[in-house]
Amino acid sequence: MAEPVQFEVTIPSDTIRGHEVQEKILELLEEYSFPEKDLFGIKLALEEAIVNAIKHGNGMDPSKSVRISCHLTEEKLSVTIEDEGDGFAPEDVPDPTEDDNIDKPSGRGLMLMRAFMNLIQYNERGNRLTMEKRRSPD
């Protein structure tokens, strides 16, 4: 039985640093032998969530940071990502699959996170996201 792992990092609004955290989490998931199909979705969800925090949350402001905490057990990954922005209301994001929106180039990140993770939850202000993914059966 692998022991649960927990860590927390604070990074500047820099997507390269975001990718480093993403890689670290994925390495841990591989150590815990999460199945390939889970890794693809988790990587995509982490990418979307971290880029959202840096770009839309912090507006790429280098003086603002993003706090990422990760908790991993053999059964489940939980990640919390908090930016220093004003937040947003997820329910106000238009559905990108509606006919009127299908050819608009933005608005799909949130949808992909919801599709690939088991839980996507924002705090009331909308600047802190918690997401969870349970290990799929082999």
């Binding site: 995509l44 770009k55 299908i102 050819d103």
Partner: protein, 118 residues
Amino acid sequence: MSAGQRRLDIEQIGEVTVAKFIDKKILDENNIQVIGNQLFGLVEEDGRKKIVLDFTAVEYLSSAALGKLITMDKKVKAASGKLRLCSIRPDIYEVFAITRLNKLFDIKDDQEAALAGF
């Protein structure tokens, strides 16, 4: 915007331009910007009208990359051209299916199918 590193392998087959992505991961914002500009250049600078985008090499792409593909589709349509996508692996196809972009784009299994009847 500097031309940056070449991100697409371009091959002309008859009237059709096949643009193959070189990157395995189309994620990074700067990378996506460069790829987008090179794609748009095919239509806006080179005046190419029949374009196939080949995804054989691509293992990951983000919603920002999807955004560039949508803009590319619009530019090709505005120039009265046609765009097809091909050789998309199942994981990536799922991303298109979830976002219903498999309905917006003309997606073929492989390059041969994409070139047929183009």
